[in-house]
Amino acid sequence: MKLRLFPVLAAALAALSLAPAAHAQRAARPVELLNVSYDPTRELYTDFNRAFAAHWKKETGQDVRIRQSHGGSGSQARAIIDGLAADVATLALAFDVDVLHSRGQLIPADWQSRLPHNSSPYTSTIVFVVRKGNPKGIKDWPDIVKPGVAVVTPNPKTSGGARWNYLAAYAYGLKANNDDHEAAKKFVGDVYRNVPVLDPAARGATTTFAQRGIGDVFLAWDNEAFLALREFPNEGLEIVVPSISILAEPPVTVVDKNVDKKGSRKVAEAYLKFLYTEEGQDIIGKHFYRPAVSEAAKAKYASQFPAITLVTIDEVFGGWAKAQPEHFGDGGVFDQIYRR
């Protein structure tokens, strides 16, 4: 009994000693936010959270502590549906946020129109990373389907980011063949026939290419590409920008059900709006994401993003709701590649 009693007593004492303090500082009681995000945003949000905490303290006098959770975009969405109390979700693709509405009823159907620029404060695109000196002479999409070129990209069925890789290749296939879908499918098939390893997630593919020495070209988000260059300086990796790529728009949203339950809606909404401010956009550019709204940040970081023709998923693929089942569903175009 003695052992059982102890925690109860301790808790009671703690409550007694804290109660008056809490009462006195009601206005400035610290608040906590949980941002559930995908893999490569770790460094971006670590930096951004610090800036927002300072901003919020100055505006309201309240302390805010932001916890981050990172993982594969799809599994993060599933975790939120299964009860992870995320205040904001900042995922890799709109499809993963859509399921928060369609399967979890956690956010309204029109979530994407609540914030500017389709709720995507930053964008990114898919580029090539090649080995030192570009020995295989890879300059554009047709070069990666040549025989003897090994391409590293994760499995689009398990990795959200890899779906953008696939769609970028498909978009090139369409453009090069006058919008002939059969020819585009064949082109994507040729790309994946040159893939020797299908990692389940993006970070694993980075390791496979940079550390295990597998492959001649690595398809990556441009921020991941810059990160790989910085993390593995001895490899002499180089970035090659293809003629056409896809505009990846990773969206953000407040998780309405959770913030209303916790009473954190105000700070959660301010957190996301801060991504669109000059300061937020500058941090975004600093971490190799493309600022979506601020002209000043766009100009400042223009030099690190070479000019490239970008197509959107809406104009080429009719949006995620259509592209997801068509290309990545069971028996979809991706599955067909390995069945022929």
């Binding site: 499995n155 398990t158 390893v197 020495g213």
Partner: protein
Amino acid sequence: MSRSSRSVIPGFGLTLGYTLFYLGVIVLIPLGGLFYKTAGMGWDDFTRAAFDPQVVHSYKVSFGAAFAAALLNAVFGLLVAWVLVRYTFPGKRVIDALVDLPFALPTAVAGIALAALYAPNGWIGSWAQPLYADFVASLERLVPAVPWQAFLGNRLAFDLPGIFIALTFIGLPFVVRTVQPVLEEIEPELEEAAATLGATRLQTLRRIIFPAVLPALITGFALSFARAVGEYGSVVFIAGNMPFRSEISPVLIVAKLEAFDYAGATAIATVMLVASFVLLLVINLLQRWTRRHDAA
């Protein structure tokens, strides 16, 4: 003597009740949930999800690699157990402890370490990879009738051999730890008696030692096999995960979960579970048969 039908140790009712309750909570309820989820999907959907050609190929890879790895572990695990039981040598305790490491190591760490070793630029892969490719190529030349590449792959890491390597690594302790106590039980006097009766070393091994350890060896094999069938963490890093080649079933389960297809994922899991259960049952029967055969 009405008490003779009772057990010497009291509490049978209580312990059995507890056993059933415990097994129910830990094993049966989760498995029941799995079958329940699968049962909700209808026969057509079930066969489409569970017997799709890509999924069927992954069963072959998962069960085939697990079987091969367990077989290798049965041979070399017996050897390790034998050395640890019958000889004393400096560092024996260290080696004994090393056997348990695959138990303790997080499987993802094991997978990453193995991939780093066997990759074409790794310590082992850098010299063994060309040898292995040559080996498979010469097999193809010598016996062209067999599709060797389809069975053996042609790379060590990121292909079928990678799966085999990872599964062998995680399965070894199961064989050693089940065989070891049985070997310790076999008295050296038995061997001496056999020798005085004129048995050669090989005969002693075959007639005296092997029959005694066989049931334990089969159990070790079964445990190692069962562990390997469901293994995910260590395999994904070294398998390459290519559909219709080196993709294991758990990867497809994860892919289905990723697409929010819970029913499809449980369908594959159900097939794996039923197949494992049948195989373990067969192995158990086999083991009982060897025991009876041995006693007769």
